[in-house]
Amino acid sequence: MAVAADAVAPAGATARRGRRFGILPGFGLSLGYTIAYLSLIVLIPLCGLVVKSASLSWAQFAAAVASPRALAAYRLTFTAALVAGLANAVFGIIVAWVLVRYKFPGRAVFDALVDLPFALPTAVAGIALTALYADNGWIGQLLARFDIHIAYSPAGVSLAMLFVGLPFVVRTVEPILLDLDPQLEEAAATLGASRRQTMWRVILPVLLPPALTGFALSFARGLGEYGSIVFISGNMPMRTEIVPLLIVTKLEQYDYAGATAIALVMLLASFGLLLLINALQAAMTRKGKR
């Protein structure tokens, strides 16, 4: 390769300054392949969605996006994802704290359990949660006595989102907690802080940024979740119909325009979240380096 021939010169910083990209061969090939494959699998298909939605008239777009049924679906999806994200944030901090700080029998098992929602197919999660929380299920039976019904209600939607988003907060908070210098807590204690003060004023402020990132990841995951929710929600229009299901329904009725318009709204919402998450993570990295 051309680059290899003249790269026999000393490697490292001096060589890098002389060349634009770096001294190792394969830049052209890896760049070409990466861009081509990325375009073929991801970018071109996504552009297809934008092209398709550009062919809709404003009236068509507005009718699909702002129909009462769509509005009800947005409200349910966003509220349920918010509830699930908040629950995950609170319990995620507790779980991360317990896993990092305490030793107890079965710790390794519980640690592995945290990752399970990533590995378990969502359809399996859906039918398993439904079987448990339906009125004749193990937990549903108990709750039904108090007239609490989780399956086939908006609460079921939140429950499924809680499951699929569960690992995010734990896994973002954990490394920060591991890096947390015990001297900080010792210093707080020597300065006369009670354990509770140390907890609220020293530890929690450090854990909030990663917890926020984890919350955003869990929230975003909830917004797009489909597989587990269709089983537990009951899928009643206006009541327990989530946005991804509405898209599928429109598609099955060959209403491609409607499906595309609603998909575009959701896509913009998740890209907005992606940018927010990236900004949060960048801010955390900067803070970590300081």
Binding site: A11, G26, I94, V124, A128, P182, L245, L274, Q281
Partner: protein
């Protein structure tokens, strides 16, 4: 949805737990309450659903369980799931290594944008991932008429399922390999270069042996998702029994037919797969932690 675990996950593994902050150790009561809360939360929402999959599957006895799994439609679904993973995982492995090499080894404008674009499929709802392929390649899609004229069937056929799965699992290998590739550094590769090695020789003899656990980790996660994907595949599959039905879709069909033993029996295969994935993940993490990075042995 925003995909898999954040990148820093693996840094947790070596388990260099700091000694408990002596000055600020929690009281016994706090420990007991918090541990109970955490374990109760995980037990209620994660462990119990897993247990219920197996109890529901075995409700009709072991005979009914085996029978449900040995149904021709279940076997066909299993084969399609294996085929899908066998195509899409290697595709994304090659891409993941190429992309990680590109991003970790060179400086070029637009690198951050490229990294963000690679993560894009994580933030797209699975349903929308399926939809984009229907809009592009379906009978009424942009390329639909052309494909039809040439008698090529992608949507509601096996290629569509593979394509949608490849899209969904696109970032998995790249985002696992990239940090490992960055961590091992370029010293040995540059040494190989000065000794006259070609680019391919460097890749196969120097780089890949050093990042193999990272690659394997990505493969494990990518494979789990490829075999378990539901939303995207559901949109492009057309649900033709025995033909375009993957295992997760077959679970849905059986469930909607009120064949609970069948649905949970098939689901139990997928659950075993998930448990195997977790075990493989732990093993790779342990091996990776034992591997001395960036040092010449």
């Amino acid at each position: 949805m925003a995909g898999a675990a954040p990148r820093r996950v693996r840094t947790v593994v070596p388990d260099p737990r700091p000694p408990l902050a002596r000055a600020g150790a929690d009281s016994l009561l706090t420990r007991v309450v918090l541990t109970t809360l955490a374990c109760g939360f995980l037990g209620l929402f994660v462990a119990l659903p897993i247990v219920s999959v197996f109890t529901e599957a075995l409700r009709g006895g072991i005979h009914a369980y085996v029978e449900a799994i040995m149904q021709p439609d279940s076997i066909a679904a299993l084969k399609l799931t294996l085929l899908t993973a066998a195509v899409s995982v290697p595709l994304n492995v090659v891409f993941g290594i190429a992309a990680a090499w590109l991003i970790a080894r060179y400086h070029f404008p637009g690198k951050n944008l490229l990294t963000t674009l690679i993560d894009l499929p994580f933030s797209v709802s699975p349903v929308i991932s399926g939809l984009v392929f229907v809009l592009l390649l379906g009978a009424r899609g942009l390329l639909g008429p052309w494909l039809e004229a040439h008698d090529i069937h992608i949507i509601f056929a096996v290629p569509g399922i593979i394509l949608a799965t490849t899209f969904i699992t696109f970032p998995f290998v790249a985002r696992e390999v990239l940090p490992v590739m960055q961590e091992v550094g370029t010293d040995e590769e540059e040494a190989a270069l000065t000794l006259g090695a070609s680019g391919w020789q460097i890749l196969f003899r120097v780089t890949l042996p050093k990042i193999r656990w990272g690659v394997l980790y990505g493969v494990v996660l990518c494979n789990a998702r490829a075999m378990g994907e539901f939303g995207a595949v559901s949109v492009v599959s057309g649900h033709i029994r025995g033909l375009t039905n993957t295992l997760p879709l077959h679970v849905e069909i059986l469930y909607n037919e009120y064949n609970m033993v069948g649905a949970f029996a098939v689901a139990s295969i997928l659950t075993l797969l998930a448990l195997l994935t977790l075990a493989a993940k732990k093993i790779v993490e342990a091996r990776q932690a034992a591997e001395p990075h960036g040092t010449i042995r």
